[in-house]
């Protein structure tokens, strides 16, 4: 259980976190989503007692983090996977944390095995680790004390696709066992598959909170259409849609993206007398991506988000005028 209430942080004249409030319930994974520099890390550091808030408070399991006598046994934290002594060996770094927590040394080996850093990898110096290996080490460190809560800042950074899948399963299992997970990311596709709830932050302020489904509901759903036959058929459908004042645009695959439910598009196709080979809602990920981009005011193409199919409304006016 995490409760964040009105956290605010100002550096000089710049307010990096402004009145941020949200809760994370046991048994859930919360994705803390926002572009780089939106205030995610500062919020998580305030949660973990590393940055003092100017206003507001944060509680983990009913008390401020710093008031927990041995916090690592209750809350597993990974704030920056790169923040490890480069000259220390991986297993040794875990051993130091294990001793601080007071957990038996065998936990180190268990955790190294769990994250796939057992054997020679654990004996290497962290300076030789890839970012992905450091993330795995950081996750191992967070899990050492068998915590009830996980707080992780950009844990998927540097992981390969296989590693991302592994991590998703890990977090889902952790939440399935009644744990609470809060993880941040600047990439939607990293968290939407694992998170029950998304908290979207932009320029230090929360702009949306909800399940991925709820957030998607905030936009007008569109339909993707493919035609059975050639370009002249597509032209007939375009004319019919224009006549019916339904917004649309051409999709990259030769079909259309229409800002209307599938049934309405189907009726338009019937009136136009064209055959469709496929008709369905605009792909979910793309839509949520657009929600994210609009909420956070960032531009498509920043980061590694590849919005393959933006929903129709974005270029409706241009199409109408053609």
């Amino acid at each position: 259980m995490i409760e964040i209430n009105g956290l605010t942080k100002t550096y000089g004249t710049r307010t990096v976190v402004k009145d941020v409030s949200f809760r994370c319930e046991p048994g859930t994974v919360t994705g803390f989503l926002g572009p780089n520099g939106a205030g995610k890390s500062t919020t998580l550091k305030m949660l973990c007692g590393l940055v003092r808030p100017d206003a507001g408070e944060a509680q983990v399991l009913g008390s401020p983090f710093a008031a927990l006598p041995n916090p690592g046994l209750k809350v597993g934290v990974l704030l920056d996977a790169a923040a490890q002594h480069a000259g220390r060996r991986g297993a040794e770094a875990l051993m130091i944390s294990a001793q601080t927590l007071g957990v038996p040394g065998e936990r180190v080996g268990e955790m190294l095995t769990l994250v796939g850093l057992d054997g020679a990898a654990g004996r290497r110096r962290i300076g030789q680790y890839s970012l992905g290996m450091r993330q795995r080490l950081g996750i191992a460190m967070a899990l050492l004390g068998k915590p009830e809560v996980l707080v992780l800042d950009e844990p998927a950074n540097g992981l390969d696709p296989e590693g991302m899948r592994w991590m998703r399963e890990l977090f889902r299992d952790f939440a399935g066992d009644g744990g609470t997970v809060l993880l941040s990311s600047h990439l939607l596709n990293e968290v939407e598959a694992v998170a029950d709830r998304l908290v979207v932050i932009a320029s230090g302020e929360i702009v949306a909170i909800g399940s991925p489904g709820e957030l998607r509901g905030e936009t007008v759903a569109g339909s993707a259409v493919k035609l059975a036959d050639g370009a002249d058929q597509a032209e007939l459908l375009r004319q019919e849609l224009t006549r019916a004042a339904i917004a649309f645009r051409n999709a990259d695959d030769g079909g259309l993206l229409v800002e209307a439910p599938a049934a309405e598009v189907g009726r338009a196709a019937l009136r136009a007398g064209v055959a469709l080979s496929s008709l369905g809602p605009v792909s979910v990920g793309a839509s949520l991506e657009q929600v994210f981009l609009e909420l956070t005011g960032s531009q498509p193409g920043t980061g590694s988000n590849d919005a393959a199919a933006a929903p129709p409304e974005s270029s409706t006016d241009k199409e109408r005028n053609q």
């Binding site: 006598p69 007071g102 066992d177």
Partner: protein
């Protein structure tokens, strides 16, 4: 992921989460952190090797005329007097340069406990350094020394003062590290400040007597040379206050208040 499910069942029963790690445990961890990195491993070894070398040189050069117990002991501490403060600086500053504060202060949110554990670790290291110098002195001197009239003896008072010198030097480095929180500047300031200080005192007429009280060159060196008088102990105490307590207070205030 059955391992995780099993963990969930065992969650919280195995270890007592209501108790913070004790100060002695934190100190042991700090000692371990001091030597478990590449640089941390070689620095004490280099210091010990230099100490050994200086002891051997003391016993053999000039036909061994300086090969008395007290000379060998005093000289063997010199490399450590030089290198322990640097270990003290690194003990604090490496946490900042390597950003491990993000781990250390998450696991131990009451930051003063970490600082206290590190200070205690400095004391332990200075004791270890003293023991090393004593072993070097009492093993090598009887074997090598051929001073006419014997190698003399080493008084307990001088041994005690030797430890005070080692411990104070290391704590000064540690204190500078906590105040500055960056390895290179802290080392540079530690090495340069006494010199700049001495030059400054010499340049300003009338300030010269002050040097007896606060110049580390003048107040710490006698510890290894002769038994200190009450006045000299007062000089020493003033130096500790200025070069250990003042930076330490600044450092604790900075560390306690800083956003990481």
């Amino acid at each position: 992921m059955s391992a995780l499910s099993a963990e969930a069942q065992a969650r919280g029963v195995e270890v007592d989460g209501r108790r913070a790690p004790g100060m002695l445990k934190l100190m042991r961890i700090e000692l371990r952190k001091m030597v478990d990195t590449r640089s941390g491993f070689w620095l004490p070894i280099a210091a010990g090797a230099l100490s050994l070398l200086v002891a051997v040189l003391t016993l053999t050069l000039r036909h061994g005329h300086f090969g008395t117990y007290s000379h060998v002991f005093a000289n063997s501490t010199q490399p450590l007097v030089f290198l322990l403060p640097i270990m003290g600086v690194l003990l604090v500053c490496s946490e900042w340069s390597q950003q491990t504060t993000l781990i250390t202060f998450v696991l131990t949110p009451r930051r003063w406990r970490v600082i206290a554990a590190k200070a205690l670790a400095c004391v332990v290291v200075s004791v270890a350094a003293l023991v090393f110098c004593l072993i070097v002195t009492f093993v090598l001197t009887p074997i090598i020394s051929h001073v006419p009239g014997g190698a003399g003896s080493l008084s307990l008072a001088m041994v005690g003062q030797g430890w005070v010198a080692l411990c104070t030097r290391m704590l000064i480095g540690f204190a500078f590290g906590t105040a500055i929180l960056a390895s290179s500047p802290a080392v540079v300031v530690y090495l340069l400040l006494p010199t700049v200080w001495a030059a400054l005192l010499a340049a300003i007429p009338g300030l010269d007597p002050l040097a007896h009280w606060i110049s580390t060159d003048q107040t710490l060196e006698p510890l290894l040379q002769h038994t200190l008088s009450a006045t000299e102990w007062a000089h020493f105490a003033t130096t500790v206050g200025l070069w250990v307590l003042v930076p330490l207070v600044i450092g604790i205030w900075r560390i306690h208040d800083s956003d990481l």
